[in-house]
């Protein structure tokens, strides 16, 4: 019995997550157009919201939260590579 | 027939050639060890009936040794190389007294802009000459490389100088010629059909000769 079966965990409340996503999308649009915040703060908040939403999708809809680490690893490995590429090339402009 | 790097013509040639020689010695020793080892093993341990190979899965000590030695050598080599790399390529290393020229590359020619009599670029007495680079011996010179269309590469073998000219970028390169004479610029980056003939002449003058040449250009009307 090495494999945790998908059925062994309690299903998250998908409608609740849908509601989160919905609210956060509206928050994003409001943030971008209505709220009086500075440009940099707006940028950071928007990125945080986007990553948060993406995490919700990955963890619950793609049920990564309930998978083993070795499977999560497959999805995680490309991310530092992407980060290396983008930061390196951007850094070229910074120095 | 030449079997070595081209004759030295700038201050960069000294350290670069020394480093080249050092790496050649390091790699040469490794090469000899590996090839002699292989040949020895091939002869000594050739298969003969009745012999059996020595059953071993390896030796941690040996492996640590031949991991550590290359690692240390490489890090040392990296540190030494970096010193000269910064000296040659870093923008901040350009000497403050450098004489500035502009080199504009396009398919398939080099356009060199000279500062004229006031020794400043961007003024009215600048003049541009096609495919001729005139510089002063022992004078640090900085060129601003730009490109019209595609990527070219400014390459003077005797100066150990190579730098791409990229469209949309202004790249500084500097050098200090140590010998008067005539050299050639080649394009080292494939830039199209005429890549091979993108050639320019380099003239390294004494200061007086250079002044005379500038005066002559001014008299002949700048292009």
């Amino acid at each position: 019995m090495t494999t945790p079966q998908p059925t062994t965990h309690v299903r998250p409340n998908y409608l609740l997550i849908w509601l989160y996503l919905f609210v956060m999308t509206i928050a994003e649009v409001l943030l971008a157009f209505e709220l009086p915040v500075t440009q940099n703060l707006k940028l950071i908040l928007l990125l945080i919201l986007a990553v948060w939403k993406a995490m919700l999708v990955a963890l619950f809809f793609m049920h990564l939260k309930f998978e083993r680490w070795r499977l999560r690893l497959i999805f995680i490995v490309p991310l530092p590579l992407a980060a290396i590429l983008v930061t390196t090339v951007i850094m070229e402009k910074v120095f | 027939m030449r079997w070595w790097l081209p004759d030295a013509g700038s201050t960069f040639a000294g350290p670069i050639d020394t480093l080249f020689l050092a790496i050649l010695i390091i790699t040469g020793i490794t090469f000899v060890i590996v090839e002699v080892g292989l040949i020895t093993f091939v002869i000594r341990y050739r298969g003969r009936p009745g012999r059996k190979a020595f059953y071993t899965h390896g030796s941690t000590r040996a492996e640590v040794i031949w991991t550590a030695i290359p690692a240390v050598t490489m890090v040392a080599l990296g540190l030494i190389s970096n010193h000269y790399w910064v000296l040659i390529k870093n923008k901040k290393s350009i000497p403050p007294n450098a004489y500035h020229l502009g080199v504009h590359a396009k398919q398939f020619e080099w356009q060199v802009t000279y500062p004229g009599k006031d020794e400043k670029l961007g003024t009215d007495d600048d003049f541009t000459v096609r495919n001729q680079l005139h510089v002063i011996v022992n004078q640090p010179t900085a060129v601003e490389l730009t490109s019209e269309d595609v990527i070219h590469s400014f390459f003077v073998p005797e100066w150990r100088l190579k730098q791409d000219a990229v469209p949309g970028m202004h790249i500084m390169a500097w050098f200090q010629p140590t010998k008067t004479g005539e050299y050639e610029i080649g394009c080292a980056e494939l830039c199209g059909m005429g890549h091979y003939k993108m050639r320019a002449r380099v003239f390294v003058h004494t200061p007086d000769e250079y002044k005379a040449w500038v005066a002559q250009q001014a008299a002949g009307g700048s292009e």
């Binding site: 090495t2 490995v77 290396i84 390196t88 850094m91 120095f95 | 027939m1 790097l5 960069f12 670069i16 480093l19 080249f20 790496i23 790699t27 490794t30 590996v34 090839e35 080892g37 093993f41 091939v42 341990y45 298969g47 059996k52 190979a53 020595f54 059953y55 071993t56 899965h57 390896g58 030796s59 040996a62 492996e63 031949w66 991991t67 290359p70 490489m74 080599l77 990296g78 190389s81 000269y84 790399w85 040659i88 390529k89 490389l145 595609v150 990527i151 590469s153 150990r160 100088l161 190579k162 730098q163 791409d164 990229v166 949309g168 050639e184 080292a188 199209g192 059909m193 091979y196 050639r199």
Partner: protein, 590 residues
């Protein structure tokens, strides 16, 4: 349980009466797909070789009419003399074909497909149909690339690295249609590679036989596994870049065009971010297969199996951090150059470990000089030169005079020809009996090896020297430069050697084709090897084993004391002292 066995027999009988088309053309059998890849990529190897001969003619004898040049159209040669625009097409397509359609499919397409299931004890790939598609897409990509020669304006003209903006703007390169074909072909090839690699990774993770633990896998499988990971992560980047390039060429976007705000260096970053892992895609499988063959030829366990595995992983990991060393002269920030120099130099460490471990394997062995072993030794000695010459370019100041010269050309050929291709000669000879049931001729094989080894060194070693002299890459006529004129005799020498090298390959082609029909029938285990694949008849049947084999030990138990009078102990042989591996537990609900 009987039902399971029943389905299995059915599956077998279902395959039995297959038409020629199902069996050899639209096959889903990993071994047939491997053989299909073999023939197609050997064809592209020949194409690439023919292009190289024309390059060598032009460099050795610029301005002289090429023998047989008359059959080429006027747009390529004039009076038998190669035109500059055709010369650039030659260098571009030689690189493209050799890298993407010869060496890469030969190593990954052929041997990942053929060896992985056989060596891990699987009955086929995890997704046989996707595997078939992977082959057909690769062939399609190759044909699209080949079509470049037959469209108006001829083949692409921007070098195999396709540096933008030359490649992005037809008005600057002079080739309109074929530049787009290049991008399309690369996108298709990327798709094929990703499909293949997903298959290899899944098969290795999920379909190993009982007892085939991670550290019992042969190094060839390890290398192919890591290679597949590199391919799966690197090729999409190239695909993305090629799509942007295609859009620049066709629908007016400006990714790489500085005139409208694009960045010319962006292409180089993306290309080499893919390109350096690609370099390891081209050498790691060769290293893996050579490890297998050297252990076999030395009749000794591989020296330091674990460090060999970690060296592969280390090389693959560092491979992601070094792409900038292709761009030292590109105007990239010099501070980045320093970082990339250090990471590049560090790659020498795992590479050195591998070379010394191969030597350690041969040390006190009982060497058998069969053709694969000879080629494998050739690989080690030539890869050493290729690796060492890399240090010159890694040290940035020394790279300045060497960058973009024939020195680089020598380096890449020492790694790709002296490395990968020698390994492939070894691998093709070694697994030929498994593929076709016959042996390749030993005498011709040895003659081919020695002649290739000699002419190969005569061709590529002098390139180091003319590169030091400053001869730039991809120039049509070196004699117009004063500083290159003195070394023209060396260029002539290289050209003659290259022609001889090409001629010697006829021996290999003859041996390969002749042995298909007339080779000696192969015994079941011709090389006295330990691998699982030799427990099968030659050639192996569709579905490989009737029953999944059990694995009892590592792959390199040559000359083990418990083997008795034999000097090898296959992975599948059960000794009285061995216990059966514990099968993976049946999943829940069953």
């Amino acid at each position: 349980m009987t039902t399971v066995a029943h389905t299995r027999t059915e599956a077998h009988s279902e395959h039995a009466p297959m038409s020629f088309w199902r069996k050899y053309i639209f096959s889903t059998d990993h071994k047939i797909i491997g053989i299909q890849f073999l023939f197609v990529s050997l064809f592209f190897l020949l194409v690439g070789g023919l292009l190289a001969m024309q390059i060598r003619w032009q460099l050795g004898f610029p301005g002289k009419p090429m023998p047989g040049g008359g059959i080429l159209p006027e747009s390529m040669v004039s009076g038998g003399v190669i035109l500059p625009e055709y010369y650039i097409q030659l260098v571009t397509m030689h690189g493209t074909f050799m890298v993407f359609f010869a060496i890469m499919p030969l190593l990954v397409g052929v041997y990942a497909n053929f060896l992985i299931p056989l060596k891990v004890g699987a009955h086929d790939m995890a997704f046989p149909r996707i595997n078939m598609w992977s082959f057909w897409l690769a062939l399609l990509a190759g044909l699209i690339m080949l079509a470049g020669f037959f469209v108006p304006d001829g083949a692409p003209r921007a070098g195999w690295t396709m540096y933008a903006p030359l490649s992005a703007r037809p008005d600057l390169s002079g080739a309109t249609i074929s530049q787009k074909l290049w991008s399309i072909s690369i996108v298709v090839l990327g798709l094929s590679s990703v499909m293949g690699s997903v298959n290899y990774i899944t098969t290795i993770i999920n379909h190993r036989a009982p007892g085939m633990y991670w550290f019992r896998m042969p190094l060839s499988v390890w290398a192919l596994f890591i290679t597949a990971i590199l391919a799966v992560l690197a090729l999409p980047v190239l695909q993305g870049a090629a799509i942007m390039l295609l859009f620049d060429q066709s629908i007016g976007t400006h990714f790489f065009d500085p005139v409208a705000g694009g960045q010319a260096l962006l292409w180089q970053h993306l290309f080499w971010f893919f390109g350096h892992p690609e370099v390891y895609i081209l050498i790691l499988p060769a290293m893996g297969m050579v490890s297998d063959i050297i252990a076999n030829g030395s009749r000794k366990p591989i020296f330091g199996y674990h460090s060999m595995v970690f060296a592969i992983i280390g090389i693959a990991f560092l491979g992601w951090l070094v792409w900038g060393h292709h761009m030292f002269m590109s105007g990239m920030n010099p501070t980045l150059g320093s970082t990339f120099m250090v990471s590049t130099l560090l790659i020498a460490v795992p590479s050195a470990v591998k070379v010394f471990n191969w030597m350690g394997t041969m040390w006190r062995g009982n060497l058998r000089f069969h053709v694969p072993m000879l080629n494998a030794i050739g690989f080690v000695s030539m890869f050493t030169i290729g690796g060492l010459s890399g240090i010159f370019m890694a040290a940035t100041p020394v790279d300045i005079p060497l960058h973009d010269t024939q020195f680089i050309v020598a380096h890449i050929h020492y790694v790709l020809f002296g490395g990968s291709l020698f390994a492939l000669f070894a691998a093709i000879t070694y697994w030929y009996p498994k593929m076709f049931g016959r042996m390749m001729n030993e005498g011709i094989g040895k003659a081919h090896f020695f002649l290739t080894f000699i002419f190969y060194n005569m061709t590529f070693f002098p390139m180091h020297i003319i590169g030091m002299g400053g001869q730039m890459r991809r120039i049509y006529d070196p004699t117009i430069y004063d500083f290159l004129k003195p070394q023209q005799p060396l260029n002539v020498f290289i050209s003659y050697s290259a022609f001889a090298l090409f001629a010697v390959q006829i021996l290999f082609a003859f041996n390969f084709l002749w042995s298909l029909k007339f080779g000696k029938k192969a015994p079941q285990n011709p090389w006295d090897d330990n691998g699982l694949e030799w427990s099968l008849p030659n050639p192996a049947p569709h579905g490989n084993w009737d029953r999944t084999p059990n694995v009892y030990r590592g792959p390199y138990e040559f000359s083990a004391p418990e083997a008795g009078d034999k000097d090898y102990l296959p992975q599948y042989v059960k000794l009285p002292t061995d216990r059966d591996p514990v099968p993976a537990p049946a999943p829940a609900g069953h």
